[in-house]
Amino acid sequence: MPLVLIKHALGLSRPKRQLPAQKELKSSYDVVIVGGGGHGLAAAYYLAKDWGVTNVAVLEKSWLGGGNTARNTAIVRSNYITPEGVRFYKESMGLFETLSQDLDFNVMYTKRGHLTLAHTDAAMRTMRWRAEVNKHLGVQSEVVDDKDVARIEPALNMSRAVRWPILGALHHPVGATARHDAVAWGYAQRAAEMGVEIHQGTEVTGFELSGGKIVSVQTTRGKVGCGKVLQAVAGMSSKVAGMAGVTLPIRTIPLQACVSQPLKPFLDTIIVSGSLHCYIWQSQRGECVMGGAVDPYPLQAPRSTLDFKEGLMAHMLELIPGLADVPLMRQWAGLADMTPDFSPVMGKTSLENHYIDAGWGTWGFKATPVCGKRMAECVATEKVPDILSAFRFDRFKNFEQVGEAGAASVGS
């Protein structure tokens, strides 16, 4: 054996365990968080850090960040169209900026610039509207013409001899990507260090209700009492809320994505086309990460279809014709919680101690830090923070939608 290995084997220093060994479930917790994805783990972290609430269990049916946290396409931006959405995502991007330092964990937050392409005069008008809302709220966002688009991203096909020529774009220079798994892992580690218990392989199978409250949570590893319950299980939101007798304004619809084989770096910017329902960026490994519109009808299983790839590539090859010769490497789907107005659902439900973080549709990953922070505040103080109030659970009962046409994959 090489000497250097023997020296380390005999020494006392060992690599630190990243998460503490999983213990038995306690009989009760102040807060039970259902769902160990980015959102649930972020909420656990901020509950402990900002509010000193550490008697918390995060229950995850499979492994950390194994659901939609690992299935999104990792884009972070704040150039939405509703003031409520823009304000919310601006705060999220602010938290993302310093997340690697705050968590002492590299989440690979990388500013790339983001172009939302417009192919019609109507789309250009929408871009101007979005830019004005964005600038008013202090978000960097500018309408650019076709010459600027060609300068910002030379890989794009600017020919007018296509079905949908590029007329201009909404340019969001601070648009970024981050490593989605790392965000979940970083929050998990720091939350666990502060005393939060993370239980993987622990599926919630029911809630015991008494007097309009959830008093205990049934799991595959036994029953635990709970002070409060926060559910952060986008994709399974209706199923879990249904266990508590709560009906949600949500339909579950698959959202598919795929990556190409690795290529040399050729694409700096994140490219989105709402009208063509497609988006693409090139990862640090060189893979082109591509996605399109949500599936045409609801389904509670993440499966891929040929129809998706056909529809996506028909448009993608007009934007970047060179991709025609590039093999696809992987494809997958996530389950998107689609709300009628494409905005999320956050805050309290009709039960006294049941908090919900759902309805993420196509924009959940980029909300991870702000949603975790503000949902933690909501749970700790039992008051809905202003920034979340527009997204309350019962807004549809009074027809108070937050129409988010700036959502990717669903807008037009």
């Binding site: 209706s238 009906t247 949600l248 304004p249 949500i250 299983a301 129809d307 009962k397 009074n398």
Partner: protein, 85 residues
Amino acid sequence: MKIMNCPLNGPRNISEFAYGGEVKPTPDAQAPTQEWADYVYYHANQPGILREWWLHVPTSYWFIAERDVTTDRIIATFKPEEVLR
């Protein structure tokens, strides 16, 4: 390609159809707006076998399909008058 059996037009490509929501009792026209809001916006959305409204777009024909929303298997399709009496 996925095929759906339209009660009017026979087996057709799924791309010719549009989803129309879960089959549930329609509130009375005079019902309070709350009841209509519940009907329009809130859905059980549970896994399992469901009855749903579907539209064959080219012929504007609405019908009811029984579908397993966990496996995407279409079990049966019905003319609305066969189901709603």
